[in-house]
Amino acid sequence: MLIFIPRFPSRATGQIFVWDVQTGVVLNNVECWQSGELVFAQTQEIVTLLGKYGTFWTYDWPEGTCIHKGRLTPSSDFLLGAYQVQEESIQLSTSSTIDRKHVVNTWELHLTPDSPPSLIQSFSMPHHDGEFYFSPVSLHASFVTKTQVVILDVHDSSFLLQANAAHIPYVPLGCFSSDGCFFACGTEEPGILVWKNESTNYIPWSNIRTRLPFKGISFSPTTSSILTWGIEGIQLLKLGNQPFTPSPDKVKHHHSNHLVAYSADRTYITTAHHEDNVVTVLTPSLDTPPIDIGMEIMDIKIVNNIVFVANKHMLTQWDLETGERMHSIHGVGKVAIDKPMVISPHTKHLALSDDLSWVAFDTGEMAVFLYDTRATEIVAEYQLVGEVVDIKFSPNQDELWLLTHTMNEYEHPFSLNVNPQILYSLVELEIAVGGGFGNATVKSLEDEWSWVNAFSHGYYIGKSRQWVVDSRGRKLLWLPPNWRVKHWEDVRWNGNFLALVNSHHQGPIIIQFNP
C-alpha cells in the first residue's frame, strides 16, 4: 500500500489571546494576519504586534479592534526586540545594514490612529560579522561570532570589549541585561560567559557551566539570574561573581564517552576517555596521578592492581598504585604485553576480555576479528549483516556479543518512509576453547536498552529516564535532570555498578547499588 499526500499551503491566520495570569481565564482574543512580537502599552489595554520588516498593528484588545497599523521605513529594518514602554507610545529599535555600515534606529510608535512612527535617533557603526545584539538602555551594541565577542558604544563606535574565544568556541547567542549592566554570551561547553559594563569597558564577571544545552538566554528583570531554554529543557542560573581569565592553553574537549574498568573485588576503579591518552584512578585510598598512556585508549581492564590498556597497536600494563608502566614480567598468564597487535586502522570498537586472553575488534567493514593475546595472532573472523555499534564479551566471558544495526529505509522500492527505523540485533558468538568462533545466534532486540541491561544484576533505568529501578520495579534512585540519559551508549552496567559515561560529564558518574 502506498500513501501519497502532497500538501499545498493556502494561507495562515492567527489569533492573539490575552489571559489573566492569576486565574488562567482568556479575557479576549483578536484576529491577526501576521505573526510577530507583542508589546503591551503602559495602559495594558493596548497591545502592539511588531511584524517582520517594520510592519506593526496596534490593537485595543478588550474591544477586539485594530486601532492603528503601519510600517516603519526603510522597510528593510530588522527588529531588535528592544522596547521601552511609555504612557502613550512605545519605543523600539531596529537595525539595518547600508553600504557596509550597521545602522541602529530608535523609533517612537504612537498608539493613536493617524500618528506615523517617528525616528528618534539613529546611529551608524562599522559593520562586523556575527549575531547582533543591542541594549537601548546603555546604547551598546554587540556582535558575536564563534571566535569573538565585540561590544561597541554606538555613539562613537568605540570598542568596549573585544574578547577572543580562547579554547571553547562561543555560541553566536548573546543577551544584554535589561538594565544594561551585563552582557552574556553562550559557549559550546555548554556554558555562559558574562561581562559587566564598567561604562568605559566590559570586565569578565562570571563563567557559568550549564547543565543543559540551550538556544536562548535571558536575564531576570532584577539581573540576579539567567534563564536558558532549548531542546532539553529550561534551567535557571544564579549570576554570581566568578571572574574568568581566558586561558591561552588549549584544553582538549572530548566528544567520545568515558570508559570505566573495575577490579574483580571493586577495590580499584579506573576511567578514561575513549580514544584519549589518560587513565584516571578513582580509588580514594590511592593518590595515583593521572596516567598518560601515550597512545589512544580503546579499552581498559583491571586485574589485581594492574590496569591493562588496549589500543590499536598493543596491550600495555600500568601499576595502579604507582602509575608506572610495567613490562611483560608482570603479565597475567602468558598474555603478550608490549607486543605489536594487528588491529585494523579503521577499527571503531574494541573490547578486551576480563582475563585479557582476547581482543575483539571490528574492521569498519562489517566484520569482526578475534585476536589471541597469547598466540599474538588473529584466530577468528565473523562476517556480519549490518554495522557494528558495540562489542562486549558476555558477562561470563564465553561469548562475544555484537550489537549491530540496520536501517529499514529502503525495504520497499516505492516506500515514502522518510523516518527510517533503526533495527538493532544482538549476535551471540560462542568462543571455542582453543580459539575461534563457535555457533552464532542472532536475536532481534525490541529496543537497544535490552543490550545495556544484560550487563546489570537486575537493575535498569526506567523508561522516563528519571529513576533507577530494580527487577521488582521499586524506585531505588532518582536521577537529576542533567544525569538523565537519552542514548543507551551513555549507560554502562557492571553488575550492581552503574556508570553514566556521556562525554558532557567531566568524568563518569558511577553509582553502586546495594544488593
Partner: protein
Amino acid sequence: MDVKSLLDTAEDCLRFVAEFFEVIGQSAPHIYHSTILLAPQSSIVQKLYHQQINSLAARVVTGIPTSWDACTATFGTTTEVNHAVWSPCSQFVAVIMADNVELRNPTTLERMSILKPPSSHMGMTPKFFAFSPDGSLLACIYWKHHWFVILSLVCVHANIYT
C-alpha cells in the same frame, strides 16, 4: 547558632528544595533515598542529615559535585522549549513548549498552570508572547497554517513488483 550560620542554613535549605523539588513532589521518602545522596558535599542539609540514614539503596562512587553550582533549577523535557520570557514582576516565567503556553515558578521552574486557548481554537501553535508591564496579563499569538490537502490513496498490490 549565630546569624550568619542561620542565614547560610536557610539559604542551603532553599537551594536544596529548589534543586530537588521534582523528586520531593513525587516521592517524599526519596528525600532520604535520593536527595541526601545527591546533594553536594558542602551542603549543610546533607551534612545535617546524612548521618541519620542507616541504609541506602545506592552509593555514588563518583560524580557528586563538591558544592552547589550556578544552576539553581532545571526542568528537563523531551519536548523542545521554543521560547521563554520573564514577567516584569519576576513572579512568573512563561514558556512555549510544543502547543502549550505554561507559567512556571521562577525559583523552582515547577509548572504553575497551562494557559490554553478555548477549545474552538485548538490546533493552533503559540508563536510569540509578552507579559503586560505589571505582569498581570499575558498575550500570545497562536498561529495556524491552513493547508489544501490533496489526498490520493493508491493501493498497489504487492505482487505487481514481484
